[in-house]
Symmetry: C2
Subunit: 260 residues, 2 copies
């Protein structure tokens, strides 16, 4: 039977710049062992903080453009122009700047509000950025976890690492966690061209399993507590030895974007 | 501890028009009992089939517009103009018709490819439509399950019903299951204005939990087997007695749409 389970790892301390995140995870696991093919899902903010991807507002000098974009929209609130400058610095393109919302394409290629820059759960006067290369972060954490747990190949495929962040959607309310970094797991499951239970070819069936896994992990986490790490069991069929192309495989290329 | 688990219900027959879906679920459960506050996640196609939301292509007469839109794009394949007509009939608005893709706003307000019309897992020469009112379908199935299982209030909150479909995303590859119908579960969890672990106000934290649950359910389901129903445990904190506003609460109103 296909079954899925997800549980938050407890006992992690608040993550600080320079922390070895894999070491914190290994310590929090205690006597518990990671299972073969398990997925270790980590909230982006913990990864960013450990990598020091944090900016102090007092060090930021807003440009003219940032000052313009920070002005209050009709009926809305003004933004801190320094925060807007940080968003611009993280963006390859601003897709929309309306109704007080900045929808940006980040330098990685992610399309999201404020280029993923976030003040929540950050120390006062600072902003947390997305990791510079979240797929590389995932690969690094996976390798380190393998090392720290003394992973023995005979136990099976080493746990995969998935880094998630909450993104809004163009036509739906609310945010949903998606995969922004990935190592050792397929991002997509491709059923295009395969036959379904009635022998008909399945059309347009290309599943973003890493994004679904990110969402599942978030459901197992209490948002106001310090539970950035969730262990997901039951996705073994998508977990592989090679780190693979990561979450970058989920990005729709610019040339196929119908909604710029 | 917050923990989530999802398991596909086995032994369901192929769903036919007129079938009582709740009855099929109750029969497939056998001796197993639904738990209080569990979420019964059902793939849209099973609901649509049971409701007879199916069109035979031979009964469709394509309009001029359908014939135009069906023409092959450069380097692409032509579509069946009758299938395009069915998509148009289901659409309130065609947002994009480029590269062989029809992105539509359905009459319910969902934005998705082909207005949710699908030929996969459908009988030859037929297309499956979205349910006419998926929230009403969810409420009906929930009430019927409550009745068939002789749900006793002393056992706790009756299981919620979530109807999901796989939608593409504007900027990411692959499809992801989202909630299109819902009864007895909050669609969104609102943390806006609450304080996080460091006492800072969480900004823009409005989680589309019903969509995350739909994605989690899909991970517990084998796409080529007949497993339209998945039981999700661990979301009790979002499940309530009242059926509530359903998945309609997830729709971003037209006036807030920046990407038409």
């Amino acid at each position: 039977m296909t079954a899925l389970s997800a549980r938050a790892l407890r006992g992690l301390p608040e993550v600080r710049p320079g922390d070895d995140l894999a070491e914190l995870v290994a310590a929090a696991l205690g006597d518990e062992q990671l299972r073969a093919g398990e997925v270790v899902a980590i909230a982006q903010k913990a990864v960013s903080k450990s990598e020091g991807a944090v900016v102090a507002l007092e060090d930021v000098h807003p440009s003219e453009r940032a000052l313009e974009l920070a002005a209050a929209p009709p009926g809305g609130r003004a933004k801190d122009p320094r925060a807007v400058q940080v968003v611009l610095d993280q963006s390859a393109e601003v897709l929309r700047a309306e109704r007080g919302v900045l929808v940006c394409r980040t330098r990685h290629g992610f399309v999201c509000a404020n280029a993923g820059v976030d003040a929540s759960n950050a120390a006062d006067g600072t902003l947390v950025l997305l990791p510079a290369d979240p797929d590389a972060s995932a690969r690094r954490i996976r390798a380190r976890l393998r090392e720290l747990t003394g992973w023995d190949e005979r136990r099976g495929v080493a746990p995969a690492v998935l880094i998630s962040d909450s993104f809004g959607r163009a036509w739906r309310h609310g945010q949903l966690d998606v995969a922004i970094g990935l190592a050792g797991m397929h991002a997509l499951e491709d059923w295009r061209g395969r036959a379904d239970a009635e022998g008909m070819e399945l059309r347009a069936t290309w599943l973003a399993i890493a994004d679904a896994a990110a969402g599942a992990a978030d459901l197992a986490r209490a948002k106001d507590s310090r539970e950035p790490v969730v262990l997901i069991d039951g996705l073994q069929r998508f977990v592989v030895d090679e780190d693979g192309p990561g979450a970058a495989a989920l990005l729709r290329p610019l040339g196929e974007d119908l909604f710029r």
